[in-house]
């Protein structure tokens, strides 16, 4: 079937019929839309949601984003939001310093799984245990994307990566760490949730989790955390359009979605 048989509508200009804009190109606070991340990468989708939440809540003059090191670091110098760049794994301690020195700011870390769960595991665990009034965002794609797609502490059993070409196996490589689950068990954690960006529905649900996490910080209730499963077709060695299903089958099967802890919700 070629498109010559279909009636293709013009999409190069806004409609002339009366209409309202419901979603714009470059999201709020992302200065330069063009980034060089891979086709089909889930991280820009997650970044968009985080920035939209900050903009919609009117927090842009309070927010300081603390970035880890990974593919998403590409966004650290094109946001119209104050940014503090940390070293690999170290964003939670920097965010702690920011928030303790200036408690009126909203400190949000943006980290990948290699950054947070490998290099920086103790930093995020200690920040959560302390009930540090920051929000940590984990972009989890189960690989070290920036260095080429290697195993991280969240890689699932059976998942193929550059250094587990036959699939991760427990005997040689041990078991994945379920980061959100680990943090939900700490008393200092006030809100812990896990979402994904592989479908439009999940993007909306995850955005609500981010909103809630930021609200928890605004109310000073303790540590808030949102793990966001993102697609990495390059690191997963699959086609871009297969990635959303692969995420469900391979990643979300182990790192399952939902709100794992919310001290503001009353039990039903």
């Amino acid at each position: 079937m070629t498109n010559e048989l279909l009636r293709i509508l013009p999409t190069d200009a806004p409609p002339t019929e009366p209409a309202r804009l419901v979603d714009d190109f470059t999201p709020a606070l992302i200065d330069v839309g063009a980034h060089n991340l891979c086709p089909g990468c889930g991280e820009p989708i997650a970044m968009r949601s985080v920035m939209e939440v900050i903009a919609e809540k009117g927090l842009i003059q309070k927010a300081i984003a603390v970035f880890g090191i990974g593919c998403y670091t590409a966004f650290s110098n094109n946001l119209d939001c104050e940014v503090l760049q940390a070293l690999h794994g170290r964003a939670p301690s920097l965010a702690t310093g920011v928030k303790r020195a200036r408690p009126d700011t909203i400190a949000v870390t943006i980290q990948g799984d290699g950054d947070m769960v490998n290099e920086g595991l103790q930093e995020v665990v200690h920040a959560a245990a302390r009930g540090e009034k920051i929000t940590c965002i984990l972009l989890n794609n189960g690989v070290f994307g920036e260095t080429g797609g290697h195993m991280t502490a969240t890689t699932t059993l059976g998942q193929r990566t550059k250094n587990t070409l036959d699939g991760r196996n427990a005997a040689d490589h041990g078991y994945p760490i379920q980061m959100a689950s680990l943090l939900a068990g700490l008393e200092g954690s006030a809100y812990v949730a896990r979402g994904a960006v592989n479908t439009a529905g999940n993007v909306s649900r995850t955005k609500r989790m981010i909103e809630k996490a930021i609200e928890v910080q605004q109310q000073g209730l303790g540590f808030s955390f949102v793990e966001i499963l993102t697609m990495c077709p390059t690191g997963w060695f699959i086609e871009t359009q297969e990635a959303p299903e692969y995420l469900d089958d391979t990643i979300a099967a182990v790192h399952s979605g939902g709100v794992l802890k919310d001290i503001t919700s009353t039990p039903t």
Binding site: L29, N36, I60, L84, R90, G97, R100, T105
Partner: protein, 367 residues
């Protein structure tokens, strides 16, 4: 305020708070621990924050974050703990974040770590080395000024003796002159303005097209700022009896105090000896050491290590006179910082041996 008898660690803490330090983070390690205790006591009453970091990595990270908001911040440890912090200390230099870092050292064997930039890359930091509690309180205040002046970490090289000696000190706020206006710190305020600030070791320019960070351009620019810092910082040293010295002894920190005492004693007995006590280990007082060496028969370097500062002495002297290492690592069984060789008789005998080798000991001087 009248002078008070204070333990060195507490005095350093008091001096830092007096200088406006309002954030401190640390991990206990001998002989740094009591500085952390002092800050934990003194910061909350003035609205500051002292964090018990879970490790040295959290300590330097928290201090980095606080400093990035424009708050005067400090951290510290002893040699081994500083080894853990090296990646961050280096990257703080590249990100151009001011921070005061204390090494309450167990010996003088972190000279290389402090002055050669113990981490990766070729980034330099000013290093200040006090010889006693009083000087430590003055240099601690200067450290914050220099850190802000050059937007770079500054290290204070202290030791066990300074940490645990009680001395009568009068800590007043010291004024080191005007500082440039802060146009870089993060408070959230520039968000949404089209020029939101960025503090990063990867660069400080926002991406405006498809190009991301240009680290080559940024590293060269930071190197230029570092060159300005080095050119704009007058090395500091205390000198004595150099006018007609035939033997010159170079030593810093607590041993420098002992060397000074012994040199004064020997001068009274007619031995033509002088001393140079570097106060800035970086930038090293090269010109002062060279000038002293040019008229001397021999230059001795005394330090509590297997010989690190002696390298800089040799580089400064550049063959104008022979350089002899008369120090050596001296530790007690705990290795926490007391050196049994650091006594007046021992140092006197080493300096006299050096003078004998140069044929400068008059008749009748007791060994």
């Amino acid at each position: 305020m009248a002078p008070r008898l204070m333990e060195g660690s507490e005095a350093i803490a008091e001096a830092m708070v007096t200088a406006g330090c309002r954030f401190f983070s640390g991990y206990p390690m001998t002989p740094f621990t009591e500085v952390l205790e002092g800050m934990a006591k003194k910061l909350p009453p003035v609205g500051g924050v002292c964090m018990n970091a879970e490790s040295e990595l959290e300590a330097i990270g928290m201090a980095w974050g606080a400093a990035a908001t424009g708050t005067r911040a400090a951290t510290g440890s002893t040699g081994q703990g500083l080894s853990l912090m090296q990646e961050s200390i280096t990257e703080l230099s590249i990100a151009r974040v001011p921070l005061v870092v204390l090494n309450m050292a167990r010996s003088q064997a972190e000279y290389w770590q402090a002055t050669r930039g113990g981490g990766h890359g070729d980034w330099r930091r000013i290093v200040l080395a006090p010889m006693d509690v009083t000087e430590a309180t003055e240099l601690a205040q200067l450290a914050f000024h220099l850190a802000d002046r050059w937007r770079n970490p500054v290290m204070l090289y202290g030791d066990y003796y300074i940490a645990h000696t009680y001395q009568s000190v009068d800590i007043r706020p010291l004024d080191f002159g005007p500082l440039p206006a802060n146009d870089w710190a993060l408070t959230g305020a520039t968000g949404g303005s089209g020029r939101a600030r960025l503090v990063s070791p990867l660069g400080d320019t926002k991406q405006r097209d498809d190009v991301g960070y240009d680290m080559s351009e940024y590293y060269h620019r930071v190197h230029d700022r570092q060159a300005e810092m080095i050119a704009g910082t007058e090395p500091m040293a205390e000198t004595g009896h150099l006018d007609d010295a035939e033997v010159v002894v170079v030593a810093f920190g607590t041993p420098g105090k002992f060397v000074r005492y012994v040199v004064n004693q020997l001068r009274d007995e007619g031995v033509p000896v002088g001393y140079v006590r570097p106060i800035t280990l970086f930038p090293f007082p090269t010109a002062t050491v060279l000038a002293a060496a040019e008229q001397a028969r021999v230059v001795g370097a005394y330090e509590n290590s297997a010989g690190q500062m002696v390298d800089d002495v040799r580089l400064a002297v550049l063959g104008a006179a022979p350089v002899e290492f008369i120090g050596g690592l001296t530790l007690d069984g705990s290795a926490f910082g007391i050196g049994p060789d650091i006594t007046v008789p021992e140092i006197r005998s080493r300096i006299l041996r050096l003078c004998e080798s140069a044929g400068c000991v008059p008749e009748g001087v007791a060994r």
